[in-house]
Each structure stands twice: as C-alpha cells, then as structure tokens.
C-alpha cells in the first residue's frame, strides 16, 4: 500500500542535480550502509569469525576446560593418525556420504521430473512429496525407529508380504547405516526436489519443443537438453548434499547412539563426544578442521566436475 504513495520512478531526472548532490548522496548511502550492517556484522564477528580463529588456535593446544593449557604444535593432528576411532568415524561418514549423496540426488531429481507437469493434481502431490521435510530430524528418527522395528515395524511387515525376511536394521551393524541413509533421504529430499523444480521451470519450453521436432525422444531430450540446462541447479544441490552429508549427527545420535558396534559413529558424533563429552576441546577442534578441509576439497572437486560438464 505504501508503495503507491511514492512517486513514479523516473529514469532521466538526475540531470538537473549537480554532481555535488550526488556526492553527498553517495556519502550518506555509505554511512547508512555501514549502519545497517553494523549489528549483523558484529554478531557475525563474535559468533562466526572469532570462533573459527579460536578453533584454529585451539587445535594446536591441549585445551580441556579444566587445568592448564599448553601449546602442543601439531601433536593433535599427529595423534589423529594413530586414533582408530577417528579412522572408523571417518570411514562411517564416507560410507554415509557415498550412499546418501547419489540417493538424495536421484530421488530429488526424479520426483521433480515427475511433478513438473502443468495439471491441477500436481499441487496436491507436491504437498504430499514435500511433507517429510516438515519433520525435525528427531521426529523423523523416532518415526523411523518404529518403522524399522524388526518384528512389528511397517517396513519388515511390508517386506514380509513379498517374501523377504527383513534384517534387524538398527540392531545390525551391517544395516544400521543403510537404514539411516534411507531415513535421511526420505526426510530431506523434498527441499532439493523443490530446488530442482524451480530449475526445471526455468528451462525454456521452446528448447524442448525444438528438440522434440528434431526427433529427439524423451531420454535424448532429458540427456541433451534438460541436464545441461540444469547444470547450475545440479551444482547447488550436490554442494548442499555433500556439505550436509559430511556433518551427519542428529540421526545417528537419536537412533543408534553410534552403535551397534560403533557402526554409525560419524565424524561429527565423535567430535561431539571428544569435545563436549570428554572435554578434549583442543583435540576435537583439530578434528573439526580436518572435517572442514575434507568438505572444502570435495566441494572444489564437485565444482570442477560441474564446470567440466558445462563446457
């Protein structure tokens, strides 16, 4: 409403004003710019920049809340190499990522392609597809804890109908991580589906129509028109998936406590245990930086692959 009160925008009006007026306007803008970002920037400084620097410094010390703190140089990082739990949690996190990223990507893209139609029913089904996203990670975990019950859970009952004797899922060191991957994909694909849908709707219809007239079939159009056009969206989604996957914690914490037999002990879970459980905050910080490095490397590799595909 207020907008209608303002003057209609004019493109050529500034000519009657001197450059001096412009200069003061720019100075004012500068001042207000700093004023507007002052509080956000201060918070960002205190709760993002300073903590990263602190974490980096701490990772070279044996800080543990109580007792004296000494500079240990690279000792924490050296200790990591001999820490079997570090390697185990790294392996578990790698397994989770290797399963979750492709699964999450395929499900999100697949459902987006299905739902990308111009008919009325789409709205209803789009809502149904999206609804698991509303669940918190804890709620999704409690729901799946019940679904995955080996004897009375819906999943093993359903598997029984088609003659499959379902595994013990969360009670099996072989299947627990798989169960967490499936649960996570169920709980989060809706967001990425919507991002893909936004990308799909940005593809020009003429392009697809032209390909169709040229005799390209559905698969060819998907592979040679849709996928190249989705490159940017694909990059965004895979980056989000990779960053998220390496930080998996909630599901493992709630569902399995890292078990059985440490088969779902993830890197962030181990860092949490060391830092907040055993208060070995220096050691935990050094591990968190290794995780940071891993995420950067994988994001860069991902950017490389997406760029190559674009050429």
């Amino acid at each position: 409403m207020t907008a209608t009160l303002t003057k209609p925008p004019t493109e050529d009006s500034p000519s009657r004003h001197t450059t001096r007026a412009r200069g003061t306007s720019l100075k004012l803008q500068q001042r207000y710019g700093y004023l507007f970002i002052a509080v956000p920037l201060l918070l960002f400084l205190v709760f993002a920049v300073i903590p990263v620097v602190m974490a980096l410094v701490m990772s070279f010390t044996d800080y543990s809340v109580i007792g004296t703190t000494t500079w240990v140089g690279g000792a924490n990082f050296a200790a990591l190499i001999d820490d079997p739990y570090f390697w185990l949690s790294l392996k578990n996190t790698a397994i989770y990522t290797a399963l979750f990223v492709p699964l999450g990507l395929t499900v999100a893209l697949g459902t987006a392609l299905i739902i990308n139609r111009r008919i009325r029913a789409v709205k209803l089904f789009r809502t149904f597809f999206y609804i698991p996203v509303v669940c918190s990670s804890v709620a999704a975990a409690t729901i799946w804890y019940w679904l995955l019950n080996p004897d009375f859970g819906l999943i093993n009952i359903a598997l029984g109908w088609i003659g499959i004797d379902g595994p013990a899922w969360l009670y099996s060191s072989r299947w627990a991580m798989v169960a967490i991957v499936i649960m996570s994909a169920w709980a989060t694909f809706g967001t990425n589906m919507m991002i893909f849908l936004g990308g799909l709707q940005g593809i020009s219809r003429d392009l697809l129509e032209a390909a169709r007239i040229d005799g390209a079939n559905v698969l060819q159009r998907f592979w040679h028109v849709t996928i190249p056009q989705l490159q940017r969206t694909m990059f965004l989604v895979t980056t989000l998936l990779i960053i998220g996957a390496f930080q998996v914690f909630d599901q493992a914490f709630v569902l399995t406590k890292g078990g059985p037999g440490n088969s779902t002990l993830t890197l962030v879970y181990y860092i949490y245990n060391e830092g907040f459980g055993r208060l070995r905050m220096g050691y935990a910080s050094s591990m968190s930086f290794v995780l940071f490095l891993i995420i950067i490397v994988f994001s860069l590799v991902n950017a490389r692959i997406t760029n190559k595909a674009q050429d």
Partner: protein, 293 residues
C-alpha cells in the same frame, strides 16, 4: 487410427503418472499416518504383531503418559520462545543487512558479502566448541566476573541459542536476493525528494519486501523449532530443554514404549505442521525461488 493410438498413449501415460505419484505419496505420507494411528493404540495392540491399520480400541492414554512423565508443556514454551525470537531477529537483521547489500553503495560491501557466503561452507561443529566457550565466559552474565570467570555465562539461558542464531548468512542472502528484484528507481526518486535513507528503507522497500520476509519467517520458524544439536549442547538443564531435545531423551528412557513415543512425536510436530499447511504456498515458492538464483 492414428488419432486413436495417440489418445490411447496419452491415457496410458496419465495412468502411469498417477500410479507413480500415488506410490511416492504413500512412501512419504504413510509413515506419518502410521505414527498418528499408533499413538492412539493401546500398548497391547501395538506389539501384538497384528497388521490392523486402524486401532481396534482408540485411546488417549499415550498422550496422557507423555504429558505426565515429562514436562512437555515446558519444552513447548521453550521451543516457542526460541523459534519466535529467531524469527524476529533474522527477519529484522536479515532485512537490514540484505537491503544494505542490495541497494546501498558502500566500500567493502562485496568483500563482506563474500565472507558471509564463505561462512556457509564452514561446518557448524568447527564453531560450536569456541562459541560454547564465548557464551560461557561472557563477562558479567550468569554470575561471571568481568573476566568471564566464576559463573556459567549464557549457558542454560535462552540467549545461548538466540544470540548465535540471531542472523544467519542465509537470512541476509535471501533478503538481498529479494530486495534486488525491487527496482532501484524508487530510491532514486525518493532521494531527489529529499527523503532520508532510513525513510526510504522503512517506508518504501520494507513494505514491498513483505512476501520475502514472510517466506524467511516461515523457514526460520521451522528450522528454529526443529533445531537439535545446538540446544542439546547449551541447554542441558531439564527446565530449559526444547521439544526436540526432550523428545530425544524421552526416546532413550522409553525405548520400547512405542505408543507414548509416537504420541510425543505427534505433539512435537503440531506447530510446524500447522504452519506448513497454512503457509505451504509461500514455503514451496520460497524454496524453489532460492534454487532459481
């Protein structure tokens, strides 16, 4: 003939499409329905192994058990306060900074903004330990001396969640994107009329940004309500626990009591589910909009 076959193909395609979307909907919705129905079943029926979908006898006992055995009301209050405070702070501060980055020219703007974006790459666990210490050693708060010793600082207070989450890089990013869709010419015209920068922001751009603010508010509420790891770390006092932390610890204590556990899950989801069903158009458009940028 050809007409007939194309018709047939179209019908067949439609049938296949409906079959696919119904199957997927079953996978996404059925677990929630089953959770809801389980929460109304008596314990004996849940573990009888029977595959009755609907409860044979409907009972509210599970809800009573949850409400009596843990202070769920208190958890609800805590989560509500934290989620709403997160919404207010993020929408206000996100709009301020987003507007500045989108519409005001000032030195260093690009560098600051790049830094914000880069911070999204930092895994949250990296900053969690130092942030915990910053909050704990905050001077003159929670029994702390001016040197930050002696007390517990902001730990176990609402501020421990509100302050670090007051303005996310995502909020600034989203509002910047939104303000960029509003033409610059409004501000130029108003400046010529002698309007102050603050007035231009509050009277012209802020009202136009309402749809963007609504989407940000909804998304922030959801993520605030569903937040788990950070409240788990900084709010360990049972009186300060959030719904999510309470539900997780409830699951530990009542491992095989599926009835009360499902009842607790249902209760924990009500606020976000209501917000989603009422505002789903904004949420869905907002999410796909972010992807389009």
């Amino acid at each position: 003939m050809t007409m007939n076959t194309t018709m047939k193909r179209r019908v067949l395609g439609d049938v296949a499409w409906y079959a696919a979307v119904i199957a997927i909907s079953l996978v996404t919705v059925l677990p929630l329905v089953w959770t809801l129905l389980t929460s109304f079943k008596p314990a004996g029926e849940i573990l009888s192994g029977g595959m009755d979908f609907l409860p044979r006898t409907w009972t509210f006992d599970n809800y009573v058990t949850v409400w009596q055995s843990v202070p769920f009301g208190r958890y609800f209050l805590n989560s509500t306060i934290l989620a709403l405070a997160g919404v207010v702070c993020n929408v206000f501060l996100g709009s301020l900074a987003g507007y500045a980055f989108a519409k005001l020219k000032f030195r260093g703007a690009k560098a600051f903004f790049a830094m914000l974006l880069a911070s999204m790459m930092v895994p949250s666990i990296v900053t969690m330990i130092p942030t915990f210490l910053v909050l704990r050693k905050f001077p003159l708060v929670g029994g702390n001396s001016i040197l930050g010793e002696g007390g517990s600082g902001f730990i176990n207070s609402y501020m421990a969640v509100i302050l670090p989450g007051a303005v996310g890089a995502f909020a600034i990013f989203m509002m910047k994107q939104f303000f960029e869709t509003i033409p610059d010419s409004y501000a130029e015209a108003a400046r010529l009329d002698g309007a102050s920068e603050f007035r231009i922001f509050t009277r012209i751009y802020l009202p136009l940004a309402k749809p963007g603010m609504a989407v940000l508010a909804i998304l922030t509420f959801q993520s605030g309500w569903n937040n788990f790891m950070w409240p788990l770390i900084v709010l360990s006092d049972p009186k300060m626990m959030t719904v999510q932390v309470g539900l997780a610890s409830f699951m530990n204590d009542y491992e095989t009591d599926y009835g009360p556990l499902m009842a607790g899950t249902v209760i924990s989801m009500i606020p976000v589910l209501v917000v989603f069903l009422v505002c789903q158009r904004y949420i869905i458009e907002g999410v796909s909009h972010v992807g389009n940028k």
